[in-house]
């Protein structure tokens, strides 16, 4: 080859004698370089073929392990899933989906530190990813890091979601609300729940119910009732909304509205624990409160007498049952049961003697006495169990006698 090159060049230059060894070396280099380039192309092709086959196999194996891990995770085997995901990641180390699933499995099996490592790594690659932020928030919840949890929940709410971002953000905020309520952070929860309610589509009754239920749990009664009414506007027979609206109305002291909502429930729904209690209490309030508008003076006086009689009966019953149990000095000043009973009896006597007009002027003071008696009974014998007594507490509270100690 070299000789051919040299001879050709010599002929070309018409002077074989001037062709030095160095020139020949130069042409030899050309030849070696040319053959190197050919070899390079061949090696490139070979390497391309080998690596393509290798990558194909590696992807197959990675996918197989990933699918196995998914199946394990869905079957509740988080530990087995972790091993499978790790195997999968060994073949596809940069696969963010694999990493994310591994992080989820790690979090599910309590390896929060490791899970967080992967998730932070993923988050650095896509800081606005809603799903990663949500998983990090859940990990933070697991390790009781409330500040981190809030930060990641908010990042998830305002983050990027591929599928149905509005619904995803709503779900994340709901989860955040549940978390805050669970942690007893009512004031923080209230703001989030109101934001959730504001972001709830008006045609999604189930979501409105959920938001209203959270409002109810956060004791934002008025807004809860509004939301339930909104849900009922969409579906008049929505049982959750009826029950919730009734409960909200009950808490707001609008007992007739509460009765209205509760009675629209089917019998089975109405008879469930809390609802039947609230319904009975509401009815007792409606039938026993002397403060209701539209009552005749005689009715008011009659209700006042009944209230005094009921509270006297509950307190004396309680005093008898708890005789020897109560510790002297435990009662608040002016709340001695015996003294209260004496006062109630005096009030009953005074009411019998008084004219109708006079009876009505005593109504506030007498109802205050009723409330104090119920409160004293509650302190001694626990919350009232009967609807009438619960109603008396509520009526007394409405009259401005809430000094603590009793709850309906």
């Amino acid at each position: 080859m070299l000789a051919v090159f040299c001879r050709r060049e010599a002929r070309h230059m018409k002077s074989r004698s001037t062709l030095t060894n160095r020139a020949c070396a130069g042409y030899a280099r050309e030849a070696v370089l040319a053959s190197s380039l050919i070899l390079l192309v061949l090696m490139f092709a070979l390497t391309a073929f080998v690596t393509r086959q290798y990558h194909k196999r590696v992807h197959e194996l990675g996918d197989q392990w990933f699918a196995k891990g998914d199946a394990e995770l869905q079957g509740g085997g988080a530990d087995a899933a972790i091993a499978d995901y790790r195997n999968g990641l060994a073949f596809s180390p940069d696969n963010s989906v694999f990493q994310f699933h591994l992080a989820q499995a790690l979090a599910a099996s309590g390896h929060t530190g490791e899970a967080e490592g992967y998730l932070r790594s993923l988050l650095s690659a896509s800081p606005g990813n809603g799903e990663i932020n949500l998983t990090l928030a859940r990990v933070a919840v697991r390790r009781s890091a409330m500040a981190d949890a809030l930060r990641y929940y908010h990042a998830a709410i305002y983050g990027v979601w591929e599928d149905d971002p509005i619904a995803q953000r709503w779900r994340v905020r709901r989860e955040l609300c549940e978390y805050l309520l669970g942690r007893g952070a009512a004031s923080q929860a209230e703001a989030e729940i109101i934001a959730l309610a504001n972001n709830t589509p008006k045609d999604q009754v189930a979501q409105i119910d959920t938001a209203a239920n959270l409002l109810l749990r956060a004791q934002v009664w008025s807004r809860a009732e509004d939301e339930y009414r909104l849900a009922l506007a969409g579906d008049r027979r929505d049982q959750d909304a009826l029950a919730g609206a009734g409960a909200a109305a009950f808490q707001l002291g609008r007992y007739s509205e509460a009765i209205g909502f509760f009675t629209r429930l089917p019998q089975r729904g109405r008879s469930s624990g809390d609802i039947s209690e609230m319904l009975a209490t509401s009815r007792a309030v409606e039938s026993g409160s002397p403060f209701l508008r539209g009552l005749s003076p005689a009715d008011k006086a009659g209700r006042l007498r009944r209230a005094l009689a009921d509270s006297e009966a509950r307190l004396s019953d309680c005093v008898q049952k708890s005789a020897g149990v109560a510790v002297p000095g435990q009662e608040p000043a002016g709340s001695d049961p015996q003294a209260l009973l004496t006062e109630i009896r005096k009030a009953q006597g005074a009411l019998k003697r008084a004219s109708l007009a006079r009876s009505l002027t005593l109504m506030d003071a007498d109802m205050n006495l009723v409330f104090e008696a119920e409160s004293a009974a509650a302190r001694r014998c626990g919350p009232p169990s009967g609807a009438a007594d619960r109603a008396l507490v509520l009526i007394g509270r409405e009259a401005g006698g809430d000094r603590g100690g009793a709850s309906p």
Partner: protein, 595 residues
Amino acid sequence: MTHAAPQGSPAAVPAAAEPRSIFARSRTLYREWMHRLVAPHGDQFFLVLAVLIGIFSGLAVVCFRVAIEWTHLLLLGSSLTPSPLRVLLVPSLFGIGIALLVIHAFPRARGSGVNQTKTAVYISNGYVPFETVIGKFITCALAIGSGQSLGPEDPSLQMGAGIASVMGRRLRLSQEKLRLIAPVGAAAGLAAAFNAPVSAVLFVIEEVIGTWSAGALGAIVLAAVSSVVTMRWFLGSESLFRVPPSELSHPAELLAYAVLGVVGGVFALLFLKWIAAARPRLQRLPPRAQYLMPAAAGLLVGAIGIWLPQVMGAGYPIIDQALHGEYVWRVLLILAVLKILATGFSFLSGTPGGMFAPTLFIGAMLGGAVGGVEHHFFPGLTSTVGTFALVGMGTFFAGFLRTPITSVFMVVEVSGNYSMIVPVMISTLIAYLISRQFQKVPLFDMLTRQDGVILPSIEERREHVSLVVEDAMRADAAIIFDPDEPAAAAAQRAGAAPESPLLLRPRLGEWRLLDREALQRLAAMDEPSAPRMVSEATSKGPLPLIFPDEPLDEVLRWAGDWPVLPVVSRADLGRLEGVLSLADVLHAFRKAAAE
């Protein structure tokens, strides 16, 4: 078409007659370009060759890595935790096959690729036989793929050197270039194996060449870059490890990394001492034992692997897991200790393979373990266990392989994370100092010396303090004269100090030697009517100027040509700092040698 005959050199392509066509003109231009390119001593050609070497090395390393992975898949399966029977049998059975191959087919495949490359550079004029490349490829793929605790970087380095050597020989490079070309290929091979061109260049300079040679640096960088580009073309451009983001939030945390430096240094030292003590004993075993040693090592590694399969092979996925804090500190510590044992067994048995990946593995596990313990006692530490694992890699690497600069940059490069460079530097430096303090000879030098070869120690060379002119010169020893000074007065001054050299300063930056006898003669001829000036007594031409910071061995080249040389200030060439004679230079060398 006619050409003038070439005159001596192929680069000197004759000035062509006016070409008659575009084709002819293009052909002439091509010839000129090609002849200039392939000129035997041309730097351009060497750089082009470096790129070619880089691409070939990159392709070889890609195939090598794929071969290792295929072998692993075929022999041990796709799970990170293979069945115990496989784990026990595969490395031991394949150990026998590897021993047969190494003893009968590829005897040069045994040993450290770094040292074989150094041997090529310093002993065999850059000669690395191509069989070594083939042998390393096959035996290392089998060894690492079957689970021996060794890494692919060192063989890749040697494959690169081998490819470069073959190309250099085929292209009939000069001996000087041939010696230079093996490190160029080594850098290419290592860069592709690590996906880290900067670290590869630094390693070759720090460990193989030992100097920042301008002639070699360009070629080494080009080869490293082209090999990495080639590798990334086929295997992707991701960093070797995916490191969770981390940063140093408080400077006080550097203390935690200093502790890691101490622990890493001590472990590296223990590993080095073990290898230093065990290797000569195993080398003294009868030749028949060489057949069984890789199998025995495989059996031991497999036995460890039944319990903790993470220690088998190069272990990159496990390092990745440690970086993500997937192991508690106890497991990390156990993995570090067992990996030291497994790597020691594999390496001491003579199984071909490298120590780079195991070193990184041990460092990562050790770093994670130290981080875990520190977190236990100081829960306020913001650095994660993964961050400690990352820093630990560089720490152990520096302590074990004794390449501190490479260690720092390697951690940064393989992780793609620059935020932890300060902790890495601190930890690495401490580990390096501990290792150097208690193990004077570095690993690579120790291995060659055990094999009966004394290669230049790059670490010793790096730390050798050169004598400079300032160490040998005599200050205030000369008498300085101005050119317009009368000869009589000058002779009187010269006579007051008969041993001092006499220097004339004709103008700024020029110094001449005065001949004492000539000066006296001149003074004798001096007459008041025609005073003789001192400048007439100068001998020879101007003296070469030397400066106080110049290396003494460089000055030695011309110190013998002059009785004395002026040492002048770099800032003021008219200010004499001292004088230097050959006797002063030799005295300084003798004094330094005695010390």
